[in-house]
Symmetry: C2
Subunit: 156 residues, 2 copies
DNA sequence: GAGTTATAGTTGCGTCGTCAACTATCTGTT
DNA sequence: AACAGATAGTTGACGACGCAACTATAACTC
């Protein structure tokens, strides 16, 4: 058993500010979307994924992988969003177990109307304080983190 | 109405990787704590705050501010943790409305036993891929973000 | 010092998300 | 072809958290 390596001063400074800033950021983005467009941040992201997909549709499984939530979470989210008229389920011909989630015109319209306000909020809260160099460094860092965590998950 | 400034390539790269990495990171840290020490990430953070406080106690309000959750969330968390024996409520002499949340010896012991595994997980998932320069840049960036968001919240 | 306003903490209600179990279907092995 | 094991999606039970409403106390104003 190695002795514990506690965080250095700078590591601790990063860790605390990262936790605080991230939570506040997500809270504020969610509130902005709900207030201005009646849609949660989580649902907004699902609409984005669908809008970028071929034929504006994805399998439930693909959605859960891409959105970092569980399959059951996606089931419930799509059920909600189907009730709102933003998406619809469609039978999957090639795999009878499966189901497509398709973006509807209404969902696309909702996304289009929510987009500008959301991007403005992202700019106002996050990018307003970042230099171009910061953005490059952090994009590399978080890409590496994502890949690292994903790799680590498979093995252990 | 300004035309919407969508994200540049690098901004988008940062935004996506930040969202994905952050979610996976929090999920993995929570699972590690629950699995190895029977405590959630959220509760762990409350124990940390209490352990660092004078006399190992904080007002409910201070806890909710410091942990970026609502007062009602803190009420419920402290109730749970009181049942687990990690904290106890104490009457506040100087403000009859108020209540202290105090860390118990058992809570301190739980924190001490969970700490090393948690720090190791934080190192393994986050700091493993960051250079010292990355850490400095990102600590400055997130500190600025936190301050910026906090300022922005007050004004409306 | 009486009355208004603000603040501390709790609670009811609703929503969201996870886990574990389940059904239906697909895939690989013999 | 038949069966064992994986995979897709759903559901029930449960826990966590936010909002809004409520009580009690404090702080401010006249």
């Amino acid at each position: 058993m190695e002795p514990t390596r506690w965080l250095t001063h700078d590591e601790h400074r990063l860790w605390r500010s990262f936790l605080d800033a991230t939570r506040m950021l997500f809270q504020d983005l969610d509130k902005q979307l709900v207030r201005d467009s009646g849609i949660s941040f989580a649902d907004y992201e699902i609409l984005v994924l669908l809008s970028e997909a071929e034929d504006r549709r994805l399998r439930m499984r693909e959605l859960s992988d891409a959105s970092t939530t569980t399959r059951s979470g996606i089931t419930r989210a799509i059920t909600r969003m189907e009730a709102a008229g933003w998406v619809q389920r469609a039978e999957c011909e090639s795999d009878k177990r499966g189901a497509w989630a398709e973006l509807t015109d209404k969902g696309a319209a909702t996304l289009a109307s929510a987009g500008p306000g959301h991007v403005a909020a992202v700019r106002a809260t996050m990018f307003a304080v970042l230099s171009p160099d910061d953005i490059t460094v952090m994009a590399d860092a978080f890409t590496a983190m994502r890949d690292h965590i994903q790799l680590h998950r498979r093995s252990g």
